[in-house]
């Protein structure tokens, strides 16, 4: 693999890491405290793309990538809403909120003008972001985004609708089903665009669950969609769960588990496409699933057990990777494995059996490194954590990444992961 590719990839990963810090504009305008980031939103949109795209028999590899790339341009363009261009958006909080309670009312001419402005700004931003890549990667990311924006292929059109469904679910999470509190805009926004029959049924299921509406769809379909909705609500918790590894090191507002999954899935895509012998669809799904158990187990680190037993200072312990015998490592693995497996059983409880099996199988392959994809992903995982650590270290000189380097040196053995590790050394030291 060329040195330019690695350099480009690392720059790209550093830039898209900013999406873990950029809050979504709609929530900020509505005064939500510490709202989800663009990366958090992308994580669940990608999951919606997988589960609902599978029901639609769409190209899953493409649709997951489409979901992953749909907001990448926001690294530079920011999260643009039509309200930014709204002529009467007042500065006073109360007056502004009144306007924000319903979706923007605009003429066709204004919509076109705003849409064109947004499109051009985002296009320029995306081209700037992907300039680091070779033409093949660049073309792939750009064409996926273009398809999403213009709705040319089924997958792009579907993700465009999912983007709004995901946001609607998040609005219910923040404001509940009380329209007086949430306003009309999230539903209005969804109902302008959603036209796919499956998604229209899914919206009915949301209405039944949160607003007590009676619905008329096939009973078996209703049950399956209710199960999927329950699953999406559960995984939404990962958007609020900060990574424990950073909390232990006193990082303020650290990335969430969902944010980490976003980075890892992006790495899996870009590096996975270079390994033709791997099943990329499987790798992407595995990356999305790998830490779902945190919903019930909480985020865990290799230090948890040691910190609870030792008399040494916490700072001392965290300076290096835990030193454990083979037996201790095996015991720790078995304990975590059993706890995580129980969590996975609970998380997937409402999904249909084949999907439940698939998700648990993907996690098992990752955890036991028993397939080529399951062997490769843990290497990417440690690199995603190391990169985040290096970015924290850059901001705070007291932060130390030594244990992460140790971990990466233990686990990475593929030329691609070793190449990226080398590039990180060059870039940060």
């Amino acid at each position: 693999m060329s040195i330019f590719f690695m350099k480009g990839l690392l720059n790209f990963l550093i830039e898209i890491n900013k999406l873990k810090e950029i809050p979504r504009t709609g929530w900020v305008l509505m005064g939500v405290k510490n709202p989800e980031t663009i990366a958090d939103h992308t994580f669940r949109t990608a999951f919606l793309a997988w589960l609902l795209g599978q029901k639609k028999k769409l190209n899953l590899k493409r649709i997951i990538k489409s979901a992953l790339s749909h907001d990448l341009c926001e690294v530079y363009a920011g999260d643009i809403t039509p309200f930014f261009y709204y002529p009467q958006l007042p500065k006073k909080k109360k007056e502004r909120k009144k306007i924000l309670m319903k979706w923007a009312r605009l003429s066709e001419k204004e919509k076109k003008k705003i849409g064109e402005k947004k499109f051009n700004k985002e296009k320029t931003a995306l081209l700037r972001l992907i300039k680091f890549f070779n033409p093949k990667v660049k073309n792939e990311i750009f064409s996926l985004w273009y398809d999403y924006e213009k709705g040319i292929l089924e997958e792009g059109k579907f993700v465009r609708q999912l983007n709004r469904v995901e946001t609607l679910l998040q609005s219910i999470n923040y404001f509940g089903s009380n329209i007086v509190k949430s306003g009309n805009n999230w539903w209005e926004w969804v109902e302008e665009i959603v036209e796919d029959p499956l998604l229209l049924d899914f919206l009915k299921v949301i209405q039944k669950k949160f607003y007590g509406k009676r619905i008329r769809i096939y009973r078996s379909e209703e049950k399956e969609l209710e199960g999927i909705l329950d699953f999406f609500l559960k995984i939404g918790k990962l958007k609020r769960l900060p990574r424990l590894y950073w909390l232990l090191r006193k990082v303020k507002n650290p990335e969430t588990v969902a944010g980490h999954i976003f980075t890892l899935t992006m790495m899996a895509w870009i590096l996975g496409r270079e390994r033709k012998e791997l099943d990329l669809e499987k790798l992407l799904k595995m990356a999305l699933c790998h830490e779902l158990s945190a919903i019930y187990t909480g985020d865990t680190t290799p230090y948890d057990e040691i910190l609870s037993k030792t008399k040494k200072s916490k700072k001392e312990i965290l300076k290096k990777l835990p030193r454990l015998s083979k037996k201790e490592k095996m015991e720790m693995f078995l304990k975590d494995y059993q706890e995580e497996k129980r969590a996975f059983e609970k998380i997937t409880l409402t999904l249909k059996p084949s999907l439940k099996r698939e998700i648990i199988q993907l996690w098992e392959e990752y955890r036991t490194k028993s397939t080529p994809e399951g062997y490769f992903l843990p290497q990417l995982n440690v690199l995603a954590i190391l990169l985040q650590g290096l970015l924290y270290e850059k901001k705070d000189k007291d932060f130390f990444t030594f244990p992460l380097w140790e971990w990466a040196f233990e686990i990475c053995d593929h030329p691609l992961t070793l190449g990226l590790l080398e590039e990180m050394k060059k870039k940060f030291y």
Partner: protein
Amino acid sequence: MAEEKKFYLTKKGLEKIKKGYQTLKKLKTAKIKGEVPKILESEDLNPEYLSFQEDLSLLESRIAELEYILKNAQLITPPPKEKQNIVNLGATVTLEDSDGEINEFMIVGTLEANPNEGKISSESPVGKSLLGHKIGDKVIITSPIKIVYRIKKIRYQSI
């Protein structure tokens, strides 16, 4: 036998689909011959074709999809003058909400819907609620929320 789906397209939309179909067919022939066609060498390449540059199976399935669309395409034409006060496909509808604010949508078929251009699909809840209504009608869009609009104006341009 299940009825085949109809694809409603404006004249412009139909021309675009036809052009896309021809381009993709040329691309496929070139790919099979192992050539890089000229359209792919240009820096200004239409991004619509980028996805198919590498992926032959995606290209083939898109060609088949476009064939199906063209076979089942139905051109949207403006209704006769006496029916232009009713919302139908191709209409641009001006709406006034209960606060007196104006909102506008153009109602198109699923293939041309694009919220960034103010075009919504006739199959979306908002699109569906508007179809068949006249100027002056009160339209209620209900889901959990209830939006009341009054139709102020309906326009049909040459589409």
